[in-house]
């Protein structure tokens, strides 16, 4: 296990930090995971724009545009992921916003393929370690930058 307390090196001064918009979409209020992820990403040198609870696809798209975000991170805990995640992907596409969507939370392994084929960039299932969270977000940002 690479511990988050030991891993992060300060970002190179001339390399722009990755910017991530973190939010919960819709009604679900479980934000423990989202807050832990926010701090985990911060401690890996990433800038987190924390939108928190009860966001809409519109508010997330607007934040991404104004904040010039590299990644959208959504946390889902209420079995609504099969509806909500594709809705976010579609809203981003409709706005011609080329920002990858990463989903975390309670997502059963059997739903991952469905979400990926719906256009989600990556899924962090229950029990993902801090190192996995960071590397997944960085990979999504890199991939988007390379497009």
């Amino acid at each position: 296990m690479s511990g988050i307390s030991s891993c992060p090196a300060p970002a190179h001064p001339h390399e722009a930090p990755i910017r991530v918009v973190l939010a919960k979409l819709g009604l679900d209020g479980h934000d423990r995971g989202l807050k832990v992820v926010a701090r985990t990403l911060r401690d890996a040198g990433i800038e987190v724009i924390y939108l928190g609870l009860r966001q809409t696809t519109d508010s997330i798209v607007a934040a991404c545009e104004q904040e010039d975000a590299d990644v959208i991170g959504l946390s889902m805990h209420n079995a609504g992921h099969l509806t909500l995640a594709p809705r976010m992907v579609k809203a981003a596409r409709d706005a011609a916003l080329d920002v990858p969507v990463v989903i975390g939370g309670i997502v059963p392994a059997e739903d991952v393929a469905t979400l990926i084929s719906a256009g989600v960039a990556a899924v962090l299932g229950p029990g993902a370690s801090a190192a996995q969270v960071v590397s997944t977000v960085k990979a999504a940002a890199l991939q988007a930058a390379g497009r």
Partner: protein
């Protein structure tokens, strides 16, 4: 007469001083412990449409159950109808969908409401669901006075932890005191608030924070109800609590014992309660959902068993054991059965129910109990100071400045870092990881539930008398504008006219406003 497995006879309790049943009840509420009455094995159920859950209820009752426990879906918990824009994908998924009185009629169809007790886990819109239950009973010819059960109705912990709030704190607490006044006057068998630490712990709090924030919320409700004109002994005997049982066994036992001692001393000394029942901290316990791992999920059966044992040895009045597959999805029937069997093994095979407070007197257990009390008192002092001598105002202030949520988030992050750094071992997650056999079969709920529920809602809307709905909502708005009017009566009228939950919430929001939290990361 109880004895050990080998035939050694056992007294109801052992003591060289404070006995179970003695004030301040550290050692339990009753000298006979579980010999007099075993804890209630109350398992939480609810999914799909009201008719689906109704079928599950009937099955439970046929199997000899006497208590029903209802889980509502996210839109219902948030006061939104099934056809609200952001309800899509959530309808009937994590609980049952209730939009109107018609759904409540389906949910309890064929059930004798004066014979069963019902527990309803709902907070923001609790007054509306309570009103629906009362009207269903009324239509079945059951009087309010004969209804028994519990409604969670604990809004303060929503701002601190679970985040299922609708209105700002003060009008929300008004709705809670209105409900307390209503049940105190008309429903003597009902528990109007279940003050819940469970969700505070699930959000990441420590045991001491769970204990202190929960009891502080309890004190806040006592102050609010007294401010609303009730005497403490009128309602305090009907208050109950709901705690979490996590994995650190002795810390949890200490927490439960500390809760009883603190509640008794505060109610007596600070709030002047005289009825011994007012001093008794009765609580339901649920094992820690957040402790369940997605990796090697079968290990969760062992975790749940040990957590449940801490609740039993801590003297819980009722218990819900989690299913081992809950870190992945809603529980399957098999997993839910194993969870119930775990309780039955504890009750009937282990001897844990034979002697009251069997851990009392152990040096470590007494020490950690004292330590829990000490840490909680420190937190109370801070809240009291924040509120200038009012726990209610202190809790409001801590919600507003985000200090509860911030402290909980700090504790959650500390825990996560310990796990990630390997300083805290979680079996199957960061140690002993070989042999993860992947996932077992999971329960999933189809999309047709949502379609059925939407049709049902449309049907109700088209058949009802819209004029009566509008009139009842207008009357509710008028009543809400006057702080001294009890809102239960106008809510009952609106429910009876088949106003939807969302419409009633919108009417109240037009007066109370909608709460947006001051997010603290």
């Amino acid at each position: 007469m109880a004895e050990t497995m080998s035939g050694i006879p056992l007294d109801p309790f052992y003591s060289d001083g404070l006995r179970p049943g003695d004030y301040p009840y550290t050692r339990g509420l009753h000298p006979t412990g579980y010999r007099g009455k075993l804890w209630t094995m109350r398992m939480f159920a609810g999914f799909g449409t009201a008719a689906d859950t109704n079928a599950r209820f009937h099955a439970l009752l046929r199997a000899g159950g006497t208590g029903l426990s209802t889980a509502f879906d996210m839109p219902t918990l948030m006061g939104r109808d099934s056809d609200y824009e952001w309800s899509e994908g959530e309808v009937g998924r994590a609980g049952v969908a209730v939009d109107t009185l018609a759904d409540m009629e389906d949910l309890f169809a064929g059930i004798e409401l004066d014979k069963v007790t019902t527990s309803m886990t709902i907070n923001g819109p609790a007054a509306i669901l309570m009103a629906m239950y009362v009207v269903v009973a009324e239509k079945n010819g059951v009087s309010r006075a004969d209804l028994g059960g519990t409604i969670q109705n604990d809004i303060l912990k929503e701002y601190q932890a679970q985040k299922e709030y609708i209105f700002p704190p003060r009008p929300s607490v008004r709705l809670i005191t209105d409900l307390i006044r209503f049940t105190t006057a008309e429903m003597p068998r009902w528990h109007p608030v279940s003050i819940s630490g469970y969700h505070i712990r699930e959000a990441g709090a420590t045991a001491a924070q769970e204990l202190a924030f929960t009891l502080a919320n309890g004190f806040a409700y006592v102050e609010a109800a007294v401010d609303a004109g009730l005497h403490v002994d009128d309602f305090a005997p009907r208050l109950s609590f709901f705690f979490n049982a996590h994995s650190d066994f002795f810390e949890e036992v200490g927490k439960f014992r500390a809760a009883r001692r603190i509640w008794a001393t505060w109610l007596k000394e600070r709030y002047g309660a005289e009825n011994p029942k007012s001093l008794m901290c009765r609580f339901h316990t649920q094992t820690a959902g957040a402790s369940l791992t997605a990796q090697q999920p079968e290990n969760n059966i062992a975790r749940v068993a040990i957590q449940a044992l801490s609740a039993v040895l801590g003297g819980t009045q009722s218990l819900h054991t989690d299913s081992y597959d809950e870190a992945l999805a809603l529980p399957t029937e098999k997993a839910a059965r194993i969870a119930l069997r775990t309780q039955q093994i504890l009750a009937h095979e282990t001897g844990a129910a034979s002697v009251a407070d069997p851990l009392g007197g152990a040096h470590f257990v007494e020490w950690i109990t004292d330590e829990m009390v000490r840490q909680a008192e420190e937190i109370f002092a801070r809240i009291d100071q924040l509120g200038n001598g009012s726990m209610l105002e202190g809790v409001y202030a801590g919600i507003e400045d985000g200090s509860f949520a911030g402290e909980i988030a700090d504790a959650a992050y500390r825990y996560e870092r310990e796990v990630n750094a390997g300083r805290r071992i979680i079996v199957g997650v960061n140690e002993f990881t070989e042999g993860d056999g992947g996932e077992s079969s999971l329960l999933s709920i189809g999309h047709d539930t949502e379609e059925l529920q939407l049709k049902r809602l449309e049907q109700v809307r088209s058949r009802r008398d819209d004029k009566a709905v509008r009139a009842s909502l207008a009357a509710l708005v008028q009543a809400a504008e006057q702080p001294d009017i009890n809102l239960m009566a106008p809510i009952i009228d609106a429910v009876r006219a088949y106003a939807t939950e969302g419409e009633i919430v919108a009417a109240l929001e037009s007066v109370f406003g909608t709460y947006v939290e001051n997010a603290v990361v």
